[in-house]
């Protein structure tokens, strides 16, 4: 009997991960070159509908590895379920896309089986009878060809884009589907998935702001940031800062303006206690109107400011907030 290549197709929350087609393309090419048999598996609970989608491709067989314990995804259940399945089938090679989910469970699975995983490969080579997998090293400056010295099954994950998912071949007829029930004891699963969430908000995009209130070292203490925030809110603008402020952790780094932060060109830029080093200026000099408040009359920010206010920002900002509020309600 020829050796088998097993491609594990990823599904998550009812969606098939398209990058799996890339692994299937790789599997098809490898199967042709090595003369091995290509099979695929999809893992979860009630996943036969995915299995039939895969069965339309050129594969010999598709397995739906099934257990109620496999939903929702946990690395413990996946590693345990796949171990059972792979032990029974004994494929030579197990291929997967290098996704977050795969990265999560594959080290555990391979270790549990006493095998090695070659991860994040960008290709393969056949050298004589030897199968080599190519990995990037030194941030892509060097490519290393790696081979397995352990017994099969061999685990390989492929980098996104290493193969073309749209080149996956369709089969002449639908491949047979077999549902394989796996038993996963309750005590195996030590993970308790909570509700899935997306990171609340993308980093603030200051480049879209029309009004920016920006604070520099003149704000003196972290608690005084609140004052600038009130002004920004009153004006309906965004809060930003020069580097020392973000560097001290008083505001997150995504609010930093300048050569090492964002470059902005709002309609109004209000600089509070910013001296105006060139590193800051290059990030905001495109603003249509610049108002600078600084107690040092020689601060370089005044060279580019349209309105220069020499004075203590703690004297100027509180009444300014009041006036802005008044003007707004009056309007």
């Amino acid at each position: 009997m020829p050796d088998t290549i097993l491609v594990i197709v990823e599904q998550r929350e009812g969606k098939l991960n398209r990058v799996s087609w890339e692994s299937l393309t790789a599997g098809q090419a490898l199967a042709a070159e090595m003369g091995w048999t290509l099979e695929a598996a999809v893992v979860g609970s009630g996943v036969t509908n995915f299995a039939s989608e895969i069965a339309a491709k050129k594969v010999v067989k598709v397995y739906a590895v099934d257990s109620p314990q496999l939903e929702p995804y946990t690395p413990d259940a996946f590693a345990a379920g796949l171990k059972q399945f792979i032990m029974a089938k004994q494929p030579k090679l197990v291929l997967m896309p290098h996704t977050y989910q795969v990265r999560d469970f594959v080290p555990k699975l391979a270790t549990a089986m006493g095998r090695t995983a070659i991860s994040d490969c960008i290709g393969y080579k056949k050298e004589g009878e030897k199968l080599l997998f190519t990995r990037q090293m030194f941030q892509g400056k060097l490519a290393a060809d790696v081979s397995f010295t352990c017994d099969a099954p061999w685990f390989v994950t492929f980098q996104n884009g290493a193969f073309r998912g749209d080149k996956v071949e369709a089969g002449a007829a639908a491949a047979p589907i077999e549902t394989v029930k796996v038993d996963i004891a309750n005590n195996v699963i030590r993970n308790k998935p909570q509700e899935v969430f997306k990171e609340a908000k993308q980093a603030v995009d200051l480049t879209q702001a029309e009004i920016i209130v920006s604070v520099g070292r003149g704000i003196k203490e972290q608690k005084n940031i609140e004052l600038a925030k009130q002004l920004a809110e009153a004006l309906g603008g965004e809060l930003a800062a020069s580097r020392p402020i973000c560097d001290s952790g008083w505001l997150p780094m995504d609010r930093q303006i300048g050569s090492s932060g964002q470059t902005v060109a709002p309609k109004l830029y209000l600089a509070l206690g910013i001296s105006g080093a060139i590193q800051h200026i290059v990030g905001m000099k495109g603003a249509r109107t610049i108002i600078a408040i600084n107690k040092d009359s020689e601060a370089p920010i005044f060279e580019i400011a349209d309105y220069a206010v020499v004075g203590n920002l703690f004297d100027i900002v509180p009444p300014l907030i009041e006036e802005v509020k008044k003007a707004k309600t009056g309007a």
Partner: protein, 571 residues
Amino acid sequence: MLIFRKPLEGIDRPQMPADVVIVGGGPAGMACALRLSQLIDQHNAQHSDSQLSKENIYVLEKAREIGQHCLSGALLDPRSMRELLPGFEKEAPLDAEVTKEAVYFLTEKSKLKFPITPPPLRDHGNYVISLNRFVKWLGSKVEETGITIFTGFAGSELLFDGDRVTGVRTDDKGVDKQNQPKSNFEPGYDLQAKVVILAEGTRGSLTKQLIAKFDLTKGCNPQTYGQGIKELWEVPSGRIAPGEVIYTMGWPLTTKEYGGAWIYGGKDNIVSLGFVTGLDYPDPRLDPQRVLQDFKQHSFVAKLLEGGKMIRYGAKALPYGGWWAIPPVAGNGWMILGDSAGFLNAQRLKGIHLAIKSGMLAAETAFEALKKGDSSAATLGQFQEKVESSWIKDELWKVRNFHQGFEHGFWAGMFHAGLQQFTGGRGLRSRYSGKAGYEHMKKLAELPADGGNEAHLLGPAKGDGRLTFDKLTDLYHSGTKHEEDQPAHLVIHDTDVCNNRCIKEFGNPCQNFCPANVYEMVEDTSQPNGKHISLNPSNCVHCKTCDIADPYQIITWVPPEGGGGPNYDGM
């Protein structure tokens, strides 16, 4: 709370075998790689049965691109390049051959031309170059040989096995400010190398580890250093001819500081000018970046630059302790090259040709080691012998006491230099002793509060935005960039010293000698002295001055995440 960079512990690191690892892709490292490739090619052409491979020879370079951390005046003495690549003049990027030179002694209001150019400063036959462009070109020659240059990778630690250096660990990538791995974390590699060659430049961080581990400077004079601040200017045509070289001594320095300026005319109306200040000055309030700004205000210089534009800025420390300060340069598994070893002629202010020569000699030694399969001190020790029987030693021996003669001021220095000129470098005795530069720094209490004669050198430059610049503006023109979310790579071993002792004793000179505003004392009412040390590591131009000049010697410069640093285009 400052968190400092150090390689993460308890993680699995990829291991990679190597024949030779060269740390640092400057003139020394590149010349070494190129010479090694030449020797291997020659060998392979003659010995079809015992081929040597270049595949496992690597150069680590912390800059994102080759040459981007290379800064020098620069004048190239072509001697070693002619040995490495005969006829190199035809293809190397050379700005101009030196055609005219002059040396001046400046006072605040006037200048005095030396009637004849002192022999060590005669530069006919040398070339004005941009070291950045020159090294880029040298690097492209290395890449053609098939030797791999890992740009963006720094050496973060040496690997040891007993008394043997067995490899280099590269920098961890993707570590946040708290020294925790980020989602893009990539551990540093352990390059297990038969031969490790340190070509890191002045005050190399791995070289420092090696010297400390084996106490290599025992019996040596302490290394002494200068800090060179450079600006590149574009001036209206006709101000200075390509290949014209001017040196000055004197103003703005007083007789208590060592140093001087250079002005080189390059191609296309580009002028390289800079000031080297010895890092053995007495007043902690002195600011070398300001010294250059003051120098430019001398009417002689101001006229030359008038109507021009400053286009680039940078800083570099240079070793000028001379022959007696050079540690052993080879041992079990290791060799040290160029500025890392201290191969610099302080009298001529030239080191590039010596760096290249040292790289070539190290390559010959490494080649022997590969052939024999032995890289112990028995084989690599040949490098030491090669240096001592080469013209490197001839050249450095003649000036072995040069800088020490100046430790007691300008006039004593001129006396000793004159005497040494006629005694083959000997002077009053064969070996002048020396003192580390930072030991010359005086406490504020011993100095006049108003600065006395040095008053004009103290404190930060203000800058007029045309001829002179404040430090941050200058810094902007260095093109320096680092990943911001990473631990501080300026490792201060005890910040209490900064906040409680130094602030009173020396007034935190780090704020003055750092040419990049990395060090800052910020107001903090919770501190007994009202301030605490704060760092801006992403400003760092990698000059290592802080590691050298700090009077308490509590700062260790380690490489930040590879790829960060200045961008010395055309410098």
